[in-house]
């Protein structure tokens, strides 16, 4: 975000001035009402369609995806980041080919090998393949994947090692000291050509009708290493297609049996559905008994498949990879904040792919994040609407809609107003909502899913302090009131990694669910929690003895009436089992919504005077995309303003609808459950007469005569900087302070005996975008009941 940084630093140099010139203010509303002037306005950063910020305009590598990246670029993940003594550094840096960087964690524990005559020092235990990568030499591969176990069955990575009679499969061969590896000898080239010929023997030549065309490893590598003709004249084999459910399309004849999908399913996703069946010429990938791939991560097999055997069913035949524009953005379907690439063509989002981020999502993405995009095209609110005297919503002009809202604001008293930020609200619009209501004198603000008595006093009380990446180091983990697999599939993947790699012991208190790895279900409710807190439960001693203990509390606890009591019990566990140590903070809260952390950082919590039964007296309710708040218990005469992008639950009650933008259409700041601040970028233009959310609130404020003192997003961000500086440091993680033990009231009340409820009934239907998505509905139909 170089551009916005520059603007802000400029603002910082000149102290923030709340009274901007009246000419600027007039021009804001003037532009507001006529769309054409917005596009032509200078000095503002509007992102409508082609008018993109330069960060979003990537060079024409539209086909860039994890797949192609894996081959043609040297992955950051493959680098070994650490430091090396300066004396040795010169030799390493000169030896590297293609400017590859290799830094060694422990210089005493490394060996020297020679790749194409260049010396390279690598840690012990690395393979020949990794040594070549470290030297900056790209080795073609199909079955090798850095995050999966080694299979060694495609033979594409053959290299020559001096004093071995045959070419060596480099991915499966450990590097030995002094090994002389050659990657460009005639023997290697011939071996690659031969392997390629065998792979293509049974591979159909249907690239023109294959969805993988243009981003296919087999296509690319056969161009690079294959022969221009094959000698195979027999009939090519055909394989029956499998039905893996509504997300993954299979054309099994194209499969080259690399087994990446099988390894992904069993190692990362933790479902034992896929296998290699048969042998020799009739070997195939399948499930044997017909079944859909019941995983919330199944879409990732599309990315790791190096050929077109597994492709996206919803994306099938809709676009070619090279006609797509890529925009690097952030997912908002859960609080993980997975990094995504939005592929769009013109005004339409065509597909969503994961983007590499070691700290957050590695290179995976949940199915909901990947496939909910068709919901962006359905049920959209495209123009302002006002409910008429007959109770029907009628389209209105922005002027009338804003006037209607302002007239009610003028009539309402501040203590009868309320504002709720929805699940996918961005920090900018939440800031504007808070400022608007505060200026009116109202302090009744909250985020959705925050319960009756929200608190944002201590940042470490609502964040995942261990960080998602840090969970890999855990050795004992206690889950309290969370269904990790449904609430945050990618956090679950990290914990699964800890279970697989360090044999971490996981126990859960709450609804019994299948977490895809071995865990102990201690109990369903606070009773068990109290036992652990009192140290009576045997698991307590396991937790207390752990080196890196982790406690994860689900945000579902926030909705409970006995929230303080439950949190006090958790606090007791954390204290007694020393979960927070000098160098380790194992206390975590797993939030459910993308907006939640930023909302709490900005202080979207009710002020001290706000009563818990505020709903009874509310007269003016501002919903910022809040669709999951029950509205049946508010009075008949409450004036409800719904600002959002989808005609979902809340529009049935809304008196005025102000159409906003989705996360694919706006530049918004989000903080994920660990407090990492990331930004979305507009990939497609806002539809219809809808507007950026913060601009709507800014316009409301002006018509309501409580003008907010910012009319650019940079000025708004400068305001955020004043409230919560961390939200300004994009792509950074502001570490939370060490947990303060004495922060809770001494008498938190009694614990209710009712068991912890499951927070997500249906993984595929959690926000308004998902609920509008046909693909998510198909998933619901296909997988209903199969998820814990």
């Amino acid at each position: 975000m170089g551009c916005s940084r520059r603007i802000i630093s400029h603002l910082k140099a000149r102290p923030f001035n709340s009274s901007l010139s009246s000419i600027r203010d007039e021009s804001f509303l003037c532009q507001w009402y006529s769309r054409s002037s917005i596009a032509s306005a200078s000095g503002h950063r509007h992102h409508h369609g082609h008018n993109q910020p330069h960060e979003a305009q990537r060079p024409s590598n539209a086909g860039f995806s994890p797949k192609t990246a894996s081959f043609f670029s040297f992955r950051p993940s493959a680098r070994w980041i650490a430091t090396e003594p300066a004396a040795n550094h010169a030799s390493t840096s000169t030896s590297a080919v293609n400017n590859a960087v290799l830094e060694i964690i422990n210089p005493n524990d490394c060996i020297e090998v020679f790749v194409d005559g260049h010396s390279v020092k690598i840690p012990k235990g690395m393979t020949v393949f990794q040594a070549c990568e470290a030297a900056g030499v790209d080795i073609p591969r199909f079955c090798y994947h850095p995050r999966l176990s080694i299979a060694g069955n495609c033979r594409m990575c053959l290299v020559e090692v001096e004093k071995t009679p045959k070419p060596v499969a480099s991915c499966a061969m450990p590097a030995m000291p002094g090994m002389k590896i050659k990657t460009d000898t005639p023997m290697v080239l011939k071996a690659r050509e031969g392997v390629m010929e065998f792979l293509l023997a049974n591979h159909p030549l249907d690239c023109p009708i294959c969805d993988q065309g243009g981003e296919c490893d087999l296509q690319d590598q056969s161009m690079a290493f294959g022969s221009d003709r094959g000698r195979f004249i027999e009939t090519k084999r055909t394989v029956l297609d499998k039905n893996l459910g509504p997300l993954v399309k299979t054309v099994m004849t194209r499969c080259i049996q690399c087994t990446r999908c099988v390894r992904f399913a069993s190692e990362i996703a933790g479902i034992q559905d896929l296998g290699v069946l048969g042998r020799g010429g009739s070997e195939e990938i399948g499930t044997y008994v017909e079944r859909a791939m019941a995983s919330e991560l199944s879409g990732n097999v599309i990315d790791i498949c190096p050929v077109g055997a597994l492709t996206s069913k919803p994306f099938a035949f809709t676009a070619r990879s090279w006609e797509l524009k890529s925009t690097e953005s952030i997912d908002v379907s859960d609080a993980v904040g997975a990094n995504i690439t939005i592929n769009s063509r013109g005004p339409e989002v065509m597909r969503i792919l994961p983007r590499l981020s070691e700290e957050v999502n590695e290179e995976w993405l949940s199915d909901k994040a990947r496939f909910c995009y068709d919901g962006l095209k359905r049920q959209r609110l495209s123009e302002p609407m006002i409910r008429n005297a007959k109770g029907r919503l009628e389209p209105a002009s922005w002027y009338d809609a804003l006037k209607a809202v302002a007239s009610v604001i003028a009539k309402s008293s501040p203590d009868q107003m309320a504002g709720i930020a929805g699940k996918v609200a961005d920090a900018e619009s939440m800031m504007a909502l808070k400022d608007l209501l505060n200026k009116l004198g109202c302090e009744n603000l909250r985020c959705e899913g925050d319960g009756l008595r929200p608190t944002a006093d201590i940042r470490s009380d609502y964040l995942m302090n261990t960080t998602i990446y840090g969970l890999e180091k855990a050795d004992v983990c206690l889950l309290i009131g969370t269904q990790l697999r449904n609430e945050a599939p990618l956090v679950n993947t990290r914990l699964r990694k800890a279970v697989r790699n360090n044999g971490a012991k996981v126990a859960s208190i709450g609804p019994a669910v299948d977490l895809t790895y071995k865990h102990t279900h201690l109990g369903t409710g606070p009773e068990t929690l109290m036992q652990v807190a009192e140290g009576q439960h045997p698991f307590f001693s396991v937790l207390a003895k752990a080196k890196n203990p982790v406690v994860i509390v689900g945000a579902g606890i926030f909705e409970r009436a006995d929230r303080e009591a439950v949190m006090a019990a958790v606090q007791k566990i954390v204290e007694k089992a020393t979960v927070v140590k000098e160098d380790w903070n194992g206390f975590n809260v797993l939030l459910l919504n993308a907006s939640h952390a930023a909302g709490l950082d900005l202080g979207l919590v009710p002020g001290v005077g706000v009563s818990t039964n505020w709903k009874e007296s509310v007269k003016f309710l501002y919903l910022l995309g809040a669709d999951d708040t029950p509205l049946n218990d508010i009075p008949e005469d409450t004036f409800v303003v719904y600002q959002g992008h989808h005609g979902d639950h809340s529009v049935y009650r809304a008196n005025v609808i102000l159409p906003g933008a989705t996360y694919t259409e706006k530049e918004g700041t989000y903080a994920n459950t660990e407090g990492r601040v990331q930004q979305t970028l507009p990939a497609v233009p806002i539809i219809g007469d809808a507007r950026d959310d913060w601009k709507i609130l800014r316009a409301v404020s002006e018509v309501a005569k409580v003008k907010l003192p910012y009319d650019t997003i940079s000025a708004l961000r400068a305001r955020m900087l004043a409230i919560s500086p961390n939200l300004f440091r994009v792509d950074e993680l502001e570490p939370s302070s060490r947990w303060v033990p004495d922060s809770k009231p001494a008498a938190p009340g009694k614990v209710d005996a009712s068991p912890f409820k499951s927070t997500i009934e249906n993984f595929y239907m959690t926000n308004s975008i998902c609920r509008a998505s046909k693909i998510m509905a198909q998933c619901t139909a296909a997988f209903s009941g199969s998820k814990g």
Binding site: E234, Q272, L277, S282, G286, E290
Partner: protein, 262 residues
């Protein structure tokens, strides 16, 4: 050589092979040639679906436990092949899906891992076979010694196609690759599932002629057990027909240097 000419040659060879082999329709033969056991896919049928209950008999369960005791507690799934074999013997020569699921349950492994093993090995039958499953060797030495004729005679006599079970459920004919009896080619194997896991036999019948193989079938049909091994009365095991041809006298010692003479 031009690709077109090579293609024409290959087709000519393929035509020769199929037309000379038998009078059966060509496409049927070529299909069964590749799918010697079954598709790598389970299709539910009345006698083979996951709802059909299946369990080891008490005696076989004891055997299974004994087999599993050979392996460390954390490597119980190593016992999957012997257990599949045991289940197949118990179930009359083939493995229904519920048997594989049971083995997965017994060994604490995912069912798909059992399916992987069962589909990999051609000696595990995942579709019904006869009580006597006859496997004709189809590898080069047996082919050269006339195993095609043996198979044809069997199929004609039983009135079935390859991998088809006779109406009385007694016989089925399959094909197997080299079983290491090349010196006594052609040969067949008779897997006898009539007596369950206890009386299970897997016998080689060697030096066959089309006439002799039909005699064997008839002996089996009567419930008798023909003597396994070579069916050539002039041969003993793998020795030459008509008695020994070599080593007829005391072998001469190897020519050694006379060390004393040095």
């Amino acid at each position: 050589m031009h690709a077109g000419r090579r293609l024409a040659q290959a087709f000519a060879i393929a035509r020769r092979c199929t037309s000379s082999a038998s009078s059966y329709p060509q496409e049927k033969r070529s299909l069964t040639r590749w799918y010697s056991t079954a598709l790598n896919l389970h299709k539910d049928s009345p006698d083979n679906n996951p709802n059909v209950p299946w369990d080891f008999t008490p005696a076989n369960m004891a055997t299974a436990k004994e087999i599993m005791s050979h392996y460390p507690a954390n490597y119980q799934q190593s016992a999957v092949i012997p257990l599949l074999d045991l289940a197949q013997q118990q179930h009359g020569g083939w493995l229904p899906i519920s048997a594989m699921n049971k083995i997965a349950e017994v060994l604490g492994m995912a069912p798909i891992r059992v399916y992987e093993v069962a589909t990999f090995y051609s000696m595990f039958n995942r579709t019904k076979v006869g009580k006597y499953h006859l496997l004709v060797c189809g590898t080069t030495p047996c082919r050269l010694r006339g195993s095609c004729d043996i198979e044809e005679a069997l199929l004609k006599h039983l009135g079935v196609e390859r991998n088809e079970v006779t109406k009385d459920g007694l016989f089925s004919v399959g094909e197997m690759e080299c079983m290491g009896c090349c010196v006594n080619a052609p040969m067949i194997v008779v897997a006898d599932y009539t007596k369950g896991a206890e009386g299970y036999t897997y016998n080689y019948y060697e030096d066959l002629t089309p006439k002799r193989v039909i005699e064997l079938v008839e002996i089996l049909r009567r419930g008798e057990a023909p003597p396994p091994g070579t069916q050539n009365p002039n041969r003993f095991n793998s020795a030459p027909a008509g008695g020994q041809k070599t080593l007829l006298c005391e072998p001469k010692p190897p020519p050694c240097r006379d060390l004393d003479a040095c």
